[in-house]
């Protein structure tokens, strides 16, 4: 019996996710679901991103965390409209939470909506939120074994970002091996190396975002 209920929950989630997707895509808004372990650098990368892109385009951010508004407070300093969603202990965001948050955002005027999911390499990968792309941030201090140990999230993500490359000299992490593993699990996935600390590699990431925003706009025409 329980099994049935859970399948229904996911079916319901997918339906709402699809309606969010269609609604925002019709307005030419690029929606990104930003995933990764706790501490991989999702919020830091977003802060650096906003410093550069907030001048060029209108960006809204939905921050998902179990508790606190710490991440939203950080983002609010960078000129983006931001909403904190607290899951009260829940390990991932679900589409109804996004639908509710959208009713408090002037999303129609946005170029891009970023959803920073709860830090977790497992559960968030299962729940569509209406995004056009999932992006996973993997910090190099997490180790080379992570893509093969957590394959679903990498299969689902069109882009993987290897963050904290400023720390490469202090670790045994191999970027080459990570690229090999990620593209084995997900042929066609893109991989970028960045440091949200030093700004290394940031330009390629910003260009990727600009291209997605352009693509979303063109698709809506």
């Amino acid at each position: 019996m329980e099994v049935k209920v859970m399948q229904d929950v996911l079916g319901e989630n997918d339906k709402i996710a699809e309606s969010i997707h269609d609604k925002l895509a019709a307005h030419g808004i690029f929606v990104m679901n930003l995933l990764g372990s706790p501490g991989s650098g999702k919020t830091t990368l977003l802060e650096r991103t906003l410093e550069k892109l907030a001048k060029e385009m209108k960006i809204a951010v939905i921050e998902g965390d179990l508790f606190t508004s710490k991440d939203a407070d950080r983002i609010a300093k960078h000129g983006a409209e931001v909403i904190q969603v607290n899951t009260s202990g829940g390990c991932h965001l679900e589409a109804p939470m996004i639908e509710k948050a959208l009713s408090d955002i002037d999303w129609q005027s946005m170029d891009m909506l970023v959803i920073e999911n709860v830090g977790n390499l497992v559960c968030p990968a299962e729940f569509a939120l209406g995004e056009q792309a999932k992006v996973t941030v993997l910090s190099i201090t997490e180790g080379n074994d992570k893509p093969m140990k957590y394959p679903l999230i990498f299969k689902e993500s069109s882009l993987a970002i290897l963050n904290k490359v400023d720390l490469l000299p202090y670790t045994d992490f191999s970027v080459e091996e990570a690229v090999e593993d990620i593209t084995t699990i997900h042929p066609g996935a893109s991989v970028l190396s960045v440091s949200a600390r030093t700004g290394e590699g940031l330009d390629a990431w910003l260009d990727w975002l600009r291209a997605q925003v352009k693509k979303a706009k063109e698709a809506a025409r």
Binding site: V3, M6, Q7, L10, C91, H92, V122, C123, E126, F127, P151, L152, K155, T184, I185, H186, P187
Partner: protein, 80 residues
């Protein structure tokens, strides 16, 4: 699904275990890589000497015929 907390999909993964004869070290690697690239395939382990092959996959995302094709493409027969 996340087995820890029970969230997510239930019609999750199935584990296939079988013996495939005729692997070389190289073809085992090629097969492993090709299988891992399929949509629902999460885990592949091959002991090429014994031919012992383990595949964890989601049948709703990848059909058995697609898995078998990976073997035939490499001149192997999956002894299911």
């Amino acid at each position: 699904m996340c087995k820890e907390c029970g969230c997510g999909q239930n019609n999750g993964n199935t584990r296939l275990q079988f013996i495939t004869e005729g692997y070389t070290e190289e073809s085992a690697k090629t097969v492993e890589k090709a299988l891992l690239g399929l949509p629902g395939v999460m885990y592949v382990h091959i002991h090429w000497h014994e031919g012992e092959t383990t595949i964890d996959y989601n049948p709703s995302k990848t059909k058995m015929t697609e898995i078998i094709k990976v073997f035939s493409d490499n001149g192997l027969e999956a002894g299911l």
